[in-house]
Symmetry: C2
Subunit: 470 residues, 2 copies
């Protein structure tokens, strides 16, 4: 027995139903544009995708819709001011570029010829991220239709980048360049997912990321392990000992100062994580791994969502070909990445890693450490008013309690948080089976329209509960 539906919900659903076919036709048209940012051949398609979206947003009613140039692929920016000058401003983030895809990779149909089968829309970008960007267009129309407004209850800004699948190389500069126009009270990222079809969730944070490469130099050239072995330091051994010293016997990161500032999970957050219907065996199959392993005293979900890590992404040194070669190699290399959680500062991590590494090395081994650009972690407290609006909007759409997740990965959303100084929230309706970056990517149509509905409820709820003091 479902709960009685209020009149606002009923009005939104009527509007969504009315525009359903046209919405899907439009989305299908967009998905036909192979906007693969990683492949130079597709640069014109990425531009076509940006132009298409800007035109569509204008058609939706956005008074402003612009294509913003970058040194790479263009982004789309749109803005629709609220009537009320005290209304909050929300910036929606997504991306219009997609991962590469080719039929022969294992697709059952052409990746850029969208088809609906069994209530699912199959196409590259259906879930990541065109479908999730696009639900906001019908969402805002339904919001207006159901409330009788001519402008949204909040000032709505959209920033849809064109290089997310290529690592967002120009995104931060773009945000810095346009920081004034992008200013907002909250960022809503629609480029994530939910726990599952049956468990709607809101993501409350992403881990940050610091990456480095450590090169260790020993002898000036590879030397004979018979003539010299046992009497000079071996940089491959030094690299291994460094990596081994990354973790203590409880699989905690052993770099002094690494945990400085970490915001620990509250008891309530741990309870909420534990309430999720988590099947560790199934998770292990997704992870294609054969055992769990991690920081003592934490569950798997805590480990991937809320605990910082140190992982070796690559290690190399000496002879790696077939057979053997009796050398002491002249150098060795380790690539490390550190996932960071709220409270950790990438600059502090870099200092801590450099000091720690230098202290681990024997005489005769010289190190060279290079850090790449870092991504800060982001986390929205459970009691943040905007987060509560997202939860209520989603709850109305799904007619179910909404739970909380976090995201273990890291994304450009953190740049928005950092440059704009704005809290970041996540509203996504994709599910793990949607096949991001894989063949046969799809979006569940039912969930896509729940996304439309959530978007429709969200703006009014936000304006009602988070109005600026006049």
């Amino acid at each position: 027995m479902s709960k009685p539906v209020d009149s606002a919900v009923s009005a939104v659903r009527t509007c969504v139903e009315h525009h359903r076919a046209a919405f899907l036709a439009d989305l299908t048209e967009w998905l036909r544009i192979p906007s693969v940012s990683a492949q130079p051949d597709h640069a014109p398609d990425v531009r076509r995708s940006a132009d298409w979206l800007a035109a569509k947003l204008t058609g939706t009613g956005f008074p402003t819709a612009e294509v913003w140039e970058t040194p790479g692929a263009p982004a789309v920016y749109a803005e629709w001011p609220a009537d009320d000058p005290h209304a909050p401003t929300v910036l929606v983030y997504g991306h219009h570029d997609v991962q590469p895809a080719a039929r022969e990779d294992g697709w059952s149909s052409e990746p850029f010829e969208p088809v609906v089968r069994d209530g699912r829309l199959y196409a590259r970008g259906a879930a990541d991220d065109k479908g999730q960007v696009f639900f906001h267009t019908l969402g805002v129309r339904a919001h207006l239709a159901a409330t009788g407004r001519t402008a949204p209850a909040v000032t709505l800004k959209l920033l849809i980048e064109g290089e997310e699948e290529s690592g967002s190389p120009h995104f931060r500069a773009l945000v810095e360049e346009h920081a004034e126009r992008l200013a907002a009270d909250a960022v809503i990222v629609s480029d994530t997912g939910m726990w599952s079809e049956h468990t709607p969730t809101v993501c409350t944070g992403m881990r940050g990321l610091a990456e480095c490469e450590i090169r260790l130099y020993g002898p000036d050239q590879d030397i004979h392990s018979g003539s010299f072995g046992g009497a000079v330091p071996n940089p491959a051994t030094a690299a291994a000992r460094l990596v081994a010293a990354l973790h203590d016997e409880h699989a905690r990161v052993a770099i002094p100062g690494f945990y400085d500032g970490v915001i620990e999970l509250t008891d309530r957050e741990r309870e909420l994580f534990a309430e999720l219907p988590f099947d560790e065996g199934r998770w292990l199959r997704t992870a294609k791994s054969h055992a769990v392993h991690g920081e003592a005293g934490h569950t798997t979900l805590e480990r991937i969502w809320a605990r910082p890590t140190a992982e070796v992404n690559g290690i190399g040194g000496g002879y790696q070909g077939p057979g053997s070669k009796t050398i002491i190699p002249s150098s060795a290399m380790v690539k490390l990445s550190f996932r960071l959680v709220a409270g950790q500062d990438p600059g502090h991590i870099e200092k801590a890693v450099r000091a720690w590494a230098a202290g681990q090395l024997p005489a005769g081994i010289r190190e060279e450490i290079t850090f790449g650009p870092a991504t800060r972690p982001c986390l929205t407290p459970l009691d943040h008013p905007a987060l509560q609006s997202v939860v209520r909007a989603m709850g109305r759409a799904f007619e179910q309690p909404v739970r909380f997740t976090r995201e273990g990965g890291s994304g450009p959303a953190a740049d928005l948080q950092e440059v704009l100084g704005t809290p970041v929230l996540f509203l996504g309706v994709s599910v793990p089976s949607d096949g991001w970056h894989a063949p046969n990517e799809k979006v569940e149509l039912d969930l896509l329209f729940k996304g439309v509905e959530t978007s429709a409820y969200l703006w009014g709820d936000l304006a009602e509960h988070w109005r600026h003091a006049p």
Copy 2:
């Protein structure tokens, strides 16, 4: 003031002087044959080299001189029985193949057009090993001339292989096939060197070698370090921890059972090592290294000559290209080699390594360990009668006290020791500056003729001091 020269020495020197020019002409002819075993194009040259040597040994007086076939390059075998049936039998080992060489590698003259400059004979193979094989031919003639014999005082056998520079792939099988004909009381290896021009030395042993590759498997494919990092075991981390666990804080190998059976240096041996004019700074420059590092409680010479080691020759896993890739790699690999000293058994080492490695790995990491063929260590006790003969013969030739070294590397001599059950001794007159395997390889002519003399004195001394009980 030099010591008075006895008549035997005088007779040997007269003979050597007499044949000096012809000896050098012959050696030059042999060095012109580019018997590079590693390059298939030179296979006919390696055969020509074997034929040339067999003919020359016949010319020297050996009643038997044969070319022995292998699946690869041929070896040369020669035999000259003593008259006395109770005389000991000595097998001389060397090789007639050489390292590759090309003028453009940095040679000052053509590597296969021998030239004498400043008392040095420059050519590929001059020291390694044709020169050192060849000094025995004039050595035995001088022995006969000085003693008036028609056959040597010991039964002399020569086995000169043709694939040493290619890793002796068929040597053990060859020795096994001909074990009966090769039977001897001692093996004299003439494929090593001395401490320096001014410090004649005898090498008393070589380290053995066991090699393995350890492959570690974690996730079934590379997985995302954001989504899964911190919660599953990383095989690159496991590989590093394994390598780090190889040594304890005193740089001793920490594999249980590794040191089982090790014959420790006696106080006398340590004293003898310490008496050598060792310059650690100079040694470090040769090692192209920037610090010494090794097992606590041992000097550098002890570490490279008389202590077993565990070295990483290669390590690899995950992403090693430019930039970063946020993965947990699906596998990692380590190539290890263990130098072994007298008393250690390669089979026991293999068992110890397998047991140790399995015990180091976390759940979810599977290992695959492959051991290659091993080489046993060899060591001749200082009081061995044959070793004492070598020391006396060398002492007469050099008119200086003869000291002792060992060799840190490993060689096919160990196969002779193992298959024939015969102690192995080393008689070499090459010096570190001779440039083995390098451009401008040379041999010091003065030292080469000291080698001739040593060979001339050795057979009589051996027969005198080590005669079989009748």
